[in-house]
């Protein structure tokens, strides 16, 4: 092959030149581009080879394909429609999967980017995403292998004052000046080295700049944040890409952040800390070194539990299990669910296609016979069948694109994404679809094609090409299709059963009629008693409590000391902090002792409530009067009562030891209001106007507690919906296959049916005869589906600490639905066949 040698030589030499000119990476890309561009007719074909490609014959094949499709409209429609549905599902799912997998991958040195997480002693989490300031700025930044460190901390809600107009700004962050050394976020104006250097500087994203000023040409402008903080716009950056694990509208320089504990090694773990390592660094060794420095800076008791680990940034979005995560993340399980659903549905559609192709090719065995007698070669025939399959597949592919665009809105709603039609029609997607179509065309048409082409012409002419093997294959395919569909249906049942269980299970406190109102201005704390009294007097309000956090995942942790108990014997204890009315407003019930009350003035400082789990883990018989102290905040308590265990986190987690106590007023961040059952929207409005008196700047916000708890399972609910939807699509496609099969069987047995009727068989006997095969197949598929569904459901449920189990009724529903769908589909065809005029039937040849 002279051509090959010559071409390879040219490519290699060009590569050498490129490496010097533009670097190895770009050169490699260019090399591949060149290779692909060499795929031209003159190189591929070979210079002197005779063309084996015969345009006339191919045209004839396509014409034959179109004719065959027209002749059997029903089967063709089923075939193409099934394919279109299957391909559309796959297409959308792959859009989702590709998008999920692309998170944060755009950063130039993503393979060297890590987040510094604190080690954290709590089941269910790998660590805590927020750490203390100096851990990153001093301990990590001082390590020789660390190239850059950038910390973020939340700015909180604020507003921008612009010529008398207030624009609310949410989700901003303080960031170190080194942020652009770690993250590949380009600035469109300003210099990345000093945009955030020094106090009083702000970087806006393009969208924020446009929203505030209507232009991005605002470098150097003065801006007043929250009415008090003057900053200078010192940079405009491109918007943070959608596929980032967190985002923000603006960054304020960290030097502006004047918290008193900013440099404290222990008390203020408020910083998300990202860093970039030098190439070839071992992250684990680095984490060990940094942990060592941190411990050296801490008092002995704190040092024992302190430590850090490095989490690769590219794994955060799908794989992170950190406490206090920076933003809501995706989940690998969801990607897997949707991905495997898509593959399953595509598989069903492909099997469907195969079933119907074999059915159709059987009918056409006579045509094959004629072609062979007229001298068609073996490969010519194979090529004819492959062409036909590809024509149907291509039609299905085009329809799939249309279908995908049509249901895009629903799909976006289901997945929480914002895909547009141009994403669906983008080049990679269309190429992928083409590849899948071509692959399916080859794979599904090869078997029938080869069998047909190999048939002896004499047999084929008599219409005897259909061997027993072909029919058994087809039955096997239908069985597999129904097994998959039934399995999905049952799994969806298990999921929704568990969700129903969670929604109705008693939490241990009364979550109805509870409204939480966050304080968006810390100044409210100073007037705690005033706002409490004002809200209490609103008609429709039953009671109100001020608190630092609340059930539903907001609990805090703190080390405690208990006299007479060694520190290592004390379990990790969570805490909820609220005024003395807190347990009462939440409707907690008492298992022993008493609730704190305003009648005991000392309760405010010393009364501690614990839950039953706390008592159980400590092994106490009578916990009342037990002293407990918290050296970190310099307070000592005495246990006055034990509350019944309640779910203060999601049902995924075991109820942990918990303590509740009143806090100094300045710990409060919110209030929770119990409404009377007859309270209306007006009550909420009235509370809103009370709130406005205390915080005239920020808009009143509130959450219903029951909604908040339901939101804990939003991901599960989505997965459940996706599986259920998937199972319906699977059924739809499988039914098309079964319908086609039933039609075909009825056609083949036309003569038999005619004779049976003449001899006296009733229509019902005929229907039963034709349905029997289907029932047997579906029974077999259920035998496969049930254990598979049980297994998958069990794995899924094992993620919950409190699971409803797998009820028998789920299986019963699955069996009934599957059977009735299958029998209904077949009976429809059988009924038509049974009502046929027997005279005409017998004449059929």
């Amino acid at each position: 092959m002279d051509v090959l040698e010559e071409v390879q030589g040219d490519l290699d030499e060009a590569f050498e030149v490129d490496v010097d000119a533009v670097g190895a990476r770009r050169a490699r890309i260019r090399y591949w581009k060149e290779v692909l561009l060499f795929v031209r007719f003159h190189t591929v074909r070979g210079r002197r080879a005779r063309a084996s490609f015969q345009p006339a014959m191919t045209l004839n094949h396509i014409r034959g394909a179109v004719r065959a499709m027209r002749k059997q409209k029903l089967i063709t429609t089923l075939n193409v429609a099934g394919l279109a549905v299957g391909l559309a599902c796959t297409l959308l799912a792959s859009l989702f999967v590709i998008d999920e997998l692309s998170y944060d991958a755009y950063h130039e040195d993503i393979d060297r980017m890590y987040r510094l997480n604190g080690t954290f002693d709590d089941g269910g989490f790998d660590g805590i995403a927020k750490i203390n300031g100096p851990w990153g700025a001093v301990a990590a930044a001082g390590h020789p292998a660390v190239q850059a460190v950038a910390r973020f901390t939340f700015f909180g809600q604020t507003f921008a004052d612009l010529v008398g107009e207030k624009h609310s700004l949410q989700g901003g962050m303080y960031a170190d000046s080194t942020v652009f050394d770690v993250f590949s976020w380009p600035l469109v104006a300003g210099k990345s080295e000093d945009a955030l250097r020094g106090p009083g500087r702000i970087v806006l994203t393009e969208t924020t700049a446009l929203r505030l000023y209507g232009t991005i040409d605002v470098l150097g402008r003065d801006l007043l944040l929250g009415g008090t903080l003057p900053v200078v716009v010192s940079g405009i950056m491109q918007d943070v890409p959608d596929n980032s694990h967190f985002t923000f509208p603006f960054l304020v320089s960290m030097a502006t952040y004047g918290h008193e504990s900013h440099d404290d090694w222990w008390r203020w773990n408020q910083y998300y800390t990202y860093l970039k390592l030098a190439p070839g660094t071992d992250p684990e060794a680095t984490a060990r070194d940094v942990s060592g420095v941190i411990r050296a800076n801490l008092p002995a008791d704190a040092a024992a539990s302190a430590g850090v680990m490095l989490q690769p940034v590219e794994r955060i979005y799908l794989h992170s299990r950190q406490f206090r995560e920076i933003a809501p993340l995706g989940s690998a399980a969801r990607v897997w669910t949707l991905g495997s659903l898509a593959v399953l549905i595509l598989a069903i559609a492909a099997l469907n296609f195969l079933t119907l192709s074999t059915a159709r090719s059987g009918i056409r065995s006579r045509e094959v016979g004629v072609r062979k007698v007229l001298g068609a070669g073996h490969f010519g025939l194979v090529r004819q069948f492959v062409t036909e399959a590809t024509v149907s597949l291509a039609t299905g592919g085009v329809l799939a694109l249309g279908l995908a665009v049509a249901v895009l809105d629903t799909f976006n709603e289901l997945t929480g994404k914002a895909f547009t039609a141009s994403d669906v029609l983008s080049l990679p997607v269309v190429l992928l679809l083409t590849a899948v179509v071509l692959f399916l065309g080859m794979a599904t048409s090869m078997y029938p094609a080869v069998v047909q082409a190999a048939a002896r012409p004499v047999h084929a002419l008599r219409g005897q090409a259909q061997g027993a093997g072909m029919i058994r294959l087809r039955q096997g395919l239908v069985t597999v299709q129904f097994a998959v569909s039934a399995m999905l249906l049952i799994v969806a049942g298990i999921v929704s059963n568990q969700l129903r269980f969670i929604e109705t299970a008693p939490l241990g406190f009364e979550r109805e009629h509870l409204v939480a109102v966050p304080f968006q201005d810390n100044g409210i704390n100073a007037r705690a008693d005033d706002i409490r009294a004002a809200v209490q007097s609103v008609p429709g309000v039953e009671s109100v409590t001020l608190s630092g956090n609340r059930p539903g995942g907001g609990d805090w942790g703190i080390p405690v000391e208990i006299p007479g108990v060694a520190p290592e014997d004390i379990p990790g204890i969570r805490m909820l902090v609220g005024d003395v009315a807190f347990p009462d407003v939440y409707g907690m019930s008492l298992a022993a002792g008493r609730l704190p009350s305003p009648d005991h003035p000392s309760d405010r400082d010393q009364a501690l409530l614990v839950n039953q789990e706390f008592v159980r883990q400590m092994g106490w018989d009578d916990p009342i009067g037990q002293p407990v102290s918290m050296p970190a905040v310099d307070r000592s308590f005495e246990i006055v009562g034990v509350v019944t265990d309640f779910h203060f986190r999601s049902m995924h987690e075991q109820i942990a030891p918990l303590m509740l106590f009143a806090a100094p007023d300045n710990w409060y961040s919110q209030m929770t209001i119990r409404l009377r059952p007859d309270a209306s929207q007006e009550t909420i409005n009235a509370v809103g106007s009370v709130y406005a008196r205390f915080d005239p700047v920020n808009a009143f916000r509130f959450t219903f507690l029951d909604e908040q708890f339901d939101a804990l399972y939003a991901a599960e609910r989505r997965v459940g919906e996706q599986i259920r939807l998937g199972s319906w699509f699977a059924f739809l496609v499988a039914c098309m296959g079964l319908f086609g099969l039933a039609t075909f069987t009825a056609q083949r047995r036309t003569k038999e049916i005619g004779i049976r009727k003449v001899v006296g068989a009733s229509q019902w006997v005929i229907v039963r005869l034709l349905t029997r095969e289907t029932v047997a197949l579906v029974m077999l598929s259920l035998l496969l589906a049930i254990p598979a569904a049980w297994w998958i459901g069990d794995i899924w449920l094992s993620d919950f600490a409190y699971a409803a189990g797998i009820p028998v009724s789920t299986f019963m529903v699955g069996i009934l639905v599957t059977l009735s769908i299958a029998v209904g589909t077949t009976a429809l065809q059988a009924w038509r066949a049974a009502r046929m005029d027997p005279v005409r039937a017998i004449r059929t040849e």
Binding site: E6, K33, L37
Partner: protein, 112 residues
């Protein structure tokens, strides 16, 4: 196939081969076109055109000595044939006679 007619890109390639006098092969032609004519063509395109010109009889070629740079592979060196030179001359004549037919005002505008 009418031997004399060559396309614009073919003409460029043919001129490049002539300019490289004896040192013309895929890569060197591409480099010259990129540097002198600002045409960034892929190796595949150059390769195809070289072979097409050879089919038309404007070029002839032979496989020649391997070098270290190419991983020991030989390269195909191209030379312009007599018919190639004529084709270039024809193309140029056609161009220049058309050029002179353009109104002066356009010509001066193009030139400036």
């Amino acid at each position: 196939m009418r031997r004399e007619q060559i396309g614009e890109f073919e003409e460029l390639v043919l001129m490049a081969v002539a300019a490289l006098s004896g040192q013309a092969y895929g890569l060197s032609v591409r480099t010259l076109l990129a540097d002198e004519a600002g045409r960034d063509a892929s190796l595949g395109a150059i390769h195809a055109t070289l072979y097409r010109l050879q089919d038309k009889g404007h070029l002839e070629s032979s496989l020649e000595g391997a070098t270290e740079k190419r991983g020991g592979r030989r390269k195909r060196m191209f030379r312009v044939t007599g018919s190639g030179v004529r084709a270039l001359a024809t193309a140029r004549e056609a161009r220049e006679s058309l050029w002179t037919l353009m109104p002066g005002i356009i010509r001066s505008e193009v030139a400036s």
